[in-house]
Amino acid sequence: MLRISQALVDQIVQHARADHPDEACGVIAGPVGSDRPERFIPMVNAARSPTFYEFDSGDLLRLYRDMDDRDEEPVVIYHSHTATEAFPSRTDVALASEPGAHYVLVSTRETGQQTGPYELRSYRIVGGEVREEPIEVSDLQTFGS
């Protein structure tokens, strides 16, 4: 189960729309051990690609140092798929390396940069196994805006 605020969901979706048709990516950090996503950190997709994302290696080091200094960890790691469904690809699974994180995928294939319904789903990816989990949005707004 991923518990997340509507405001954070909206930020993920806005980032994905802004970067469409390239994949967008980022992290929501939270206090270590809390499982609470709190601090939204959009990252640059160094691959600038519609089919691949990768954090820039310098950005990655700064991100992890910053989280360490704040006693945070990556609670959510998100990225967008821009032409396919919000389901982890083989590449996503092979490269997933934060067993404690919620991997959130959002698909912008229906609406691109426009507003409208979107697909946003959350997964645990551990040891090559994918398990989808429910999402509880904290302030009871429904998806789609």
Partner: protein
Amino acid sequence: MAVEVRVPTILREFTGGEKSVSAQGATLQGIIEDLDANYPGIGGRLVEDGGLRRFVNVYLNDEDVRFLDGLDTAIADADAITILPAVAGGAVARP
């Protein structure tokens, strides 16, 4: 010389949960061999076919070793090494 090596969550299964371990070597290659001697298996998660794995980032202080000399990067006293897996993926395999 001994240097501090920061170990990411996914590799702490090899270090008994330790976030930071000490290793010795004059080059990054030597450091990784020393790590693998003390924490068997960890070396194979970092190196493949004689080079660093594509989706593993290793930093000497603030610099990605890919921009230095890779596995041949010289290590000095008081250096710190950080290992971070890439955060990457995508809808299809990279061409």
